[in-house]
């Protein structure tokens, strides 16, 4: 295997990692507020198609990126309306969002299949650092969305851990009555979290259609939304661990299409004979393993999962 191929693998790892990290970060915000949103896959598809179409229209990748975020927030708002305001079952609403979002994206994008926007995100060679061998290419010559996502990760961590708003969001995810009687609006906190989460997922979708696989075809999200949902659990609902998990999951995603070209032996197995499909289930296997570890390690203290996750809240119920 050549050096270039190996560097290519790690460059792709960072990009796939960014894709699932951005989407998972949005899901983490929603889940920390107590709302499970299984609609990430659908929100990403809507973001991918709407971002691509705005990109075609305006020629500006940034306009496309933020339009995709806005569409994601709107679609997330639908989930908030159904499950937070009206108190419907979050699992049902989220699954409906995935199925409906995928279908709607296919419909909206039916006339732009195969087109290419004039301007896409370009790699941002950071002066001085991009020329470092290996490291430079992998970390300092990436599209701007990668760096924006890192900043968003830091921002989410800071807001959750160090601000009044973050304290209220965390409390809403642990105990809605407590948060309500402390004087915060649970409905506003949760709806807001779900919409911000939707914006992140939508933006992630546009990163896919405007950079990683420029263009729009039905089914292009290809399960990455579900990987993002799994990643939140794998990261034990903590932004820092989420970032580490994103690199690991990103690595498996980057490795999948390249597996066949690896002419090496690992533990007596020729790597290029392993099925890429098998590699595709690795994130989910790892997630289940982490779930088991969590429930064992936390048997005598509260689990890291938000205690009120999935539970609707109505004030005057007795």
């Amino acid at each position: 295997m050549s050096e270039a191929a190996l560097i290519g693998l790690f460059v792709a790892t960072v990009q796939f990692g960014t894709l699932v990290f951005l989407a998972a970060l949005g899901e983490l915000i929603a889940e920390r507020a107590g709302v499970l949103n299984l609609g990430v896959e659908g929100m990403m598809a809507m973001g991918a198609v709407s971002g691509f179409m705005v990109g075609l229209e305006t020629g500006s990748p940034w306009a496309a990126f933020f339009a995709a975020a806005a569409v994601g927030a709107l679609v997330g708002g639908l989930h908030a309306l159904v499950s937070v305001v009206l108190g419907a079952d979050q699992v049902v609403s989220g699954l409906a969002l995935t199925i409906g979002g995928l279908g709607l994206a296919a419909y909206v994008g039916r006339n732009v299949v195969g087109e290419r926007p004039e301007t896409l995100f370009t790699d941002l060679g950071i002066a001085g650092l991009a020329d470092i061998p290996w490291i430079g290419e992998i970390f300092f010559d990436q599209p701007p969305v990668v760096y924006l996502t890192v900043l968003l990760g830091l921002a989410v961590w800071f807001v959750l851990a160090r601000t009044r708003l973050g304290l209220a969001v965390r409390a809403a995810g642990e105990s809605a009555p407590t948060t309500d009687t402390a004087g915060h609006s649970v409905m506003a906190l949760r709806s807001g979290a779900v919409m911000v989460g939707g914006a992140f997922a939508g933006a992630a979708g546009s990163f896919l259609s405007l950079y990683m696989a420029p263009g729009w075809v039905e089914g292009m999200v290809a399960g990455r939304g579900w990987i993002a949902v799994a990643l939140v659990i794998f990261g034990a609902w903590r932004p820092g661990r989420l970032a580490l998990g994103a690199l690991l999951f990103g690595f498996t995603l980057a490795l999948q299409p390249r597996l066949q070209s690896f002419d090496i032996e690992l533990l007596g197995v020729e790597v290029n004979r392993i099925s890429p499909a098998l590699l595709g289930i690795l994130p989910f296997v790892l997630t289940v393993a982490v779930l088991v570890i969590i429930s064992w390690r936390y048997r005598h203290r509260p689990s890291p999962a938000p205690a009120a996750l999935g539970l609707p809240y109505r004030r005057e119920e007795r």
């Binding site: 965390r170 407590t178 948060t179 009687t181 609006s185 005598h300 203290r301 205690a307």
Partner: protein, 505 residues
């Protein structure tokens, strides 16, 4: 009105509140003077909790007026009530277990940016000022119930509440903690704050409070301006509306039959992995009621769970009717003749969203089936039988059981457990939170079961109940049985000392 509105810290006037199928408040009044501790009394379902929830902005009243510190208020949310100076300490604490003491206290009124060290320091100052020790850096799930309550009070003080509402504050406290609470509340009242104190424990009400309002069936039936002028009996009469309401007659002594339940050298851990039971030895015989006395949290819950197979002992043996059941499942123990009325009725004992019928057959469904199928007619008939025999007041049998009142839930649960003539009945807090009629009904069933030969293990926090019903008393302290006492000859002071761990040689 002799006095002006401004004389009242709180004035709830003609409050009405309806829930589906229930009228919780039907024009109730409550007036509290500044700087006093005001008791709000009444039986379960009298409307006490609804009244204070209206004051706290949790419920919006269907009728009536809310005045706080001389101003008419229209609370849309708890935030409005907090802003008006109302602080509420709920019976089920409103704390986030995973957050620290300091984070819980500042939740809802935190500065925009949290600087943990600074907040923790300010919380420590506040807790020192009121003599309520609480380590601000500890997560709440590690705290005892008494400590959690202090955090709740500090939360109200942090927001500078002028009115503090305490709903059943001493239910979870040891006698020592309760006395400390009384002193802390007095200090706050002397500070000019008003305290509304909801409790069933009349002796504490008389000891802690200045004035009282009594509710019955959603209406104010009496007000007492000075609690020093009244005695306990007349307060109790005001609550229930008649003088009856004591405990069931002490059953005549019976000769105990064969041993039906025994524990030999049983030890077990609690949910946190710490020792909860240490070397427990006890036996229960047919025709006797054995009472477990102790301040809550001394291993009673774990004891009931170990006996019923919900918790695995680390050592020792459990026997039902002389047979070793230490490794048997709860279901097998039931089939052998062990019945269980758990402390948590609507969670462990009954499934809230399942119907009355379904809940009544979950133990004995073997009897109502043909082949693999349940025969619905038999199920309904069985349920109907329980409802009639145990006097359960219920709506439609196919409605969710959560709609029943506490007393009726307990009647059905007890009926279900007794349906197959068990040899042993473990009853944990069977009368807690029930109204007078419910208490009497449950107690007379326990006594009747004893007469029929059942061995009853009665775990209760109500000393009067234990003294009235038990043939023998076992005192639990820190996971051990520290002494065995005869209820009719032992002075209360001796029992009290044993409960506090001071056993006389």
């Amino acid at each position: 009105m002799a006095s002006s509105d401004a004389d009242h810290a709180v004035w709830l006037r003609g409050i009405e509140k309806r829930f589906p199928g229930v009228i919780a408040c039907a024009g109730a009044d409550l007036r509290v003077r500044p700087g006093t501790i005001h008791a709000l009394l009444g039986e379960n379902g009298a409307g006490k909790t609804t009244m204070v929830n209206v004051l706290a902005g949790v419920y919006r009243p269907d009728g009536g007026e809310v005045w706080v510190n001389g101003e008419r208020r229209f609370f849309q949310s708890p935030a409005d009530a907090i802003a008006a100076g109302v602080g509420m300490v709920y019976q089920e604490f409103r704390l986030v277990p995973t957050l620290t003491v300091a984070e819980n206290i500042v939740l809802g009124s935190a500065p925009r940016l949290l600087r943990s060290a600074e907040i923790e320091e300010r919380v420590a100052e506040l807790s020192a000022a009121y003599g309520m020790a609480a380590d601000p850096t500890r997560p709440v799930w590690q705290l005892s119930m008494g400590e959690r309550q202090r955090v709740e009070i500090l939360k109200a003080l942090w927001r500078n509440a002028s009115v503090l509402v305490m709903d059943e504050p001493t239910a979870v406290l040891t006698p020592g903690e309760a006395a400390e609470l009384g002193a802390a509340l007095r200090a706050m009242a002397d500070d000019g704050r008003s305290i509304i104190y909801i409790s069933h424990k009349l002796d504490q009400v008389v000891a802690f409070c200045d004035e009282a309002t009594v509710l019955r069936q959603g209406k104010t039936v009496a007000t007492v301006d000075d609690l020093q002028d009244v005695d306990l009996t007349s307060l109790a009469e005001m609550m229930v509306g008649s003088t009856e309401g004591g405990y069931v007659e002490r059953p005549p002594a019976m000769e105990a039959g064969p041993e039906v339940l025994s524990l030999q050298g049983v030890s077990a851990l609690n949910d946190r992995g710490l020792p909860a039971l240490t070397d427990i030895n006890m036996t229960v015989h047919s025709h006797e009621i054995v009472g477990i006395v102790g301040v809550s949290g001394n291993g009673q819950k774990e004891l009931a769970e170990v006996i019923n197979g919900l918790r695995r002992p680390t050592q020792g043996q459990v026997k039902v009717k002389q047979q070793d059941v230490t490794d048997a499942s709860p279901g097998d123990r039931y089939l052998l003749g062990l019945a269980y009325v758990p402390e948590d009725r609507l969670g462990v004992g009954l499934a809230p969203k399942m119907s009355v019928v379904d809940n009544s057959i979950v133990r004995s469904y073997r009897l109502q089936r043909r082949g693999l199928m349940l025969v619905m007619a038999k199920c309904v008939e069985f349920c109907q039988g329980l409802v009639e025999r145990f006097g359960v007041r219920t709506g439609r049998l196919n409605d969710p059981i959560a709609g029943l009142s506490g007393g009726n839930l307990q009647r059905l649960l007890l009926g279900r457990e007794l349906a197959e003539q068990p040899a042993v009945l473990v009853a944990a807090q069977p009368t807690r939170g029930l109204d007078v009629q419910g208490v009497a009904a449950i107690q007379s069933h326990l006594v009747a079961q004893r007469a029929e030969g059942v061995g009853v293990l009665l775990i209760s926090e109500d000393l009067d109940e234990l003294l009235a019903l038990s043939d023998r008393l076992l005192v639990m302290y820190e996971g051990r049985v520290v002494s065995e006492l005869a209820p009719d000859v032992t002075p209360r002071s001796v029992i009290g000392e044993a409960m506090a761990g001071q056993v006389r040689a």
